[in-house]
């Protein structure tokens, strides 16, 4: 039985103390080697993590950080009232499951061996499907998607037609994004009306920026461009017309400057030629949404959500730093793409 919202909110407040500060994150990024990074990390709530693996260390570390985040999330889910617990589990599992399914269909599309596809998966238990191994083990992409019949991913089967028409995966991936977002919005109904705003703002900001990036990518390929209606089944603050304009314009700067804040600021690096910085800015924006949400209601669901948002961003930053350390990348080349060290 759930101990109630108050308990989980207090717990979230206390767990925030375990999160890494911008200074700790900067110090981790500034370690010279992977060994020193692991040593420095051992002094935090992560404790000593093992870097021993038969394969790629950066991939193994990414799995470790995912597991740590999933543990944190499940710790909250177990304590939260049923409606909040169910929502949080849906929110994260639907997103991670969408990533896993994308990785499976990509692997099937290019004919990767099943074991390799399974190596790429986020270590979660299947949520809305029976088994990732079973889907990854299918003979063809068609067979793999067909295995999703009877699940909430069934509409993916109809996207196969477009996928075959263009000999590309984007129709399946877009359909998966749409289903995942729809699933999250549906699970939002479990939350009281007053608690839905924060999650809605986060999901919408992420979807809007991703839509714009896809539209910007289509600019160079105008002759082969696909219809915006096909590509963007769901839009929020950045409308379909704006996305169409982004796909057709010669002057992306003007289109971006015409967007409302914060999108005009988040997307500025697009015309400055540093696309990766957009995701860093988006994460900072999401971090900010969560921080403001928490400040607006310091004793409600927003605190729980903020804790998990901060944890996930911390996980993303740690994955980036760990990869950088395995590659011997200098701290200054990594820091601008991280979120927490740049948060004021």
């Amino acid at each position: 039985m759930s101990p109630g919202l108050s308990y989980v909110v207090i717990k979230s407040h206390s767990l925030m103390a375990d999160l890494l500060t911008p200074e700790q994150m900067r110090a981790l990024a500034q370690q010279e080697t992977l060994e020193l990074f692991v040593e420095q990390l051992a002094g935090t709530s992560y404790g000593r993590i093992s870097t021993e693996t038969d394969g790629d260390v950066s991939l193994a570390l990414e799995k470790v950080f995912y597991q740590k985040f999933i543990e944190r999330m499940m710790g909250i889910v177990d304590l939260a009232p049923t409606n909040i617990g169910d929502f949080l589990q849906s929110y994260y599992y639907l997103r991670f499951e969408a990533i896993n399914l994308k990785r499976i269909v990509r692997g099937k599309f290019s004919g990767l061996p099943t074991s390799k596809i399974i190596d790429f998966l986020i270590p979660i238990t299947p949520y809305r499907v029976e088994s990732y191994e079973k889907i990854a083990g299918a003979e063809t992409l068609h067979d793999a998607v067909r295995q999703l019949e009877g699940t909430q991913y069934e509409p993916l089967v109809s996207s196969l037609e477009l996928s075959e028409k263009y000999d590309a995966l984007w129709p399946v991936e877009i359909a998966l994004n749409y289903l995942s977002a729809r699933g999250i919005f549906k699970s939002l109904e479990r939350l009281p009306q007053s608690d839905r705003g924060l999650v809605r703002r986060i999901v919408q900001a992420e979807a809007d920026v991703e839509n714009f990036l896809v539209a910007a990518k289509q600019r160079g390929a105008r002759e082969n461009a696909h219809s915006p209606e096909e590509m963007f089944p769901t839009t929020y603050d950045i409308s379909l017309d704006m996305l169409r304009e982004a796909m057709e314009t010669d002057d992306l700067r003007a289109v971006i400057q015409g967007l409302n804040p914060p999108y005009n600021e988040i997307l500025t690096p697009l015309y400055e030629g540093d696309v990766a910085l957009i995701r860093s800015r988006l994460r900072q924006h999401v971090y900010d949404i969560a921080r403001r949400g928490r400040a607006a209601n310091d004793f409600g669901f927003n605190v729980v959500m903020a804790y998990l948002v901060f944890s996930e961003i911390e996980k993303n930053d740690l994955v980036g730093i760990a990869w950088g350390k395995t590659q011997g990348i200098a701290a200054e080349d990594m820091l601008k793409y991280l979120t927490i060290p740049n948060y004021p």
Binding site: E62, G107, S110, L169, A221, V275, W323, I329, M334
Partner: protein
Amino acid sequence: MSATTGIRPTKGFLMEMKRRIGFIEKGTEFLKLKRDHLAKELTSSIDVLKGRRSKLLEELQVAYRGVTAAYISLGPTEVRSQASALKSSLEIEVLPRSTMGVRYPFIKVDKEPQIAGELDITLSEAAEKVLGILNVIIQLAEFESRAERIADELGKTNRKVNALENTIIPSYRGIIKFIEDKLDEESLEELVRMKLIGGALARRRG
């Protein structure tokens, strides 16, 4: 064993030797021309290589920064998963080409990877940068290999010219001189003999 062992001091052999040395000297002139041309090619290649290398290093740094940004932004597993979705890979063919008889590899790109459709924009930007310099890397590799082989050939040609100028031609000249001396000696002996015979015949008649 003397250098003149097996030499027949005959006019026929002398003419053969003179024909040979004429041929060798003409060949040496050609080799010298080749040597000069190769040296010129090598000097200009080295200048071009220096420029191309530093430009490539700059472009590699930009591309590597793009790849780093993509990895940090998306995470290593996502990058590898997306990269694995690319069906077509780079296909090249190595063909032979020749300059002044120096054979070097020429790399023909048969198929470039199609990165447009399947990659996230961060990764596709990084991949485009890498793909952009891939051609420069291939050209540079081709050029370096060409310069290396020209340098090898220059060394060989130089050794051949030196051997011809310092060993072969002098030894032929020595042989020719030996034969000419021998023939002069023989003709002198013949003259003396003729004189003696002429004297003897005159004495017999008188």
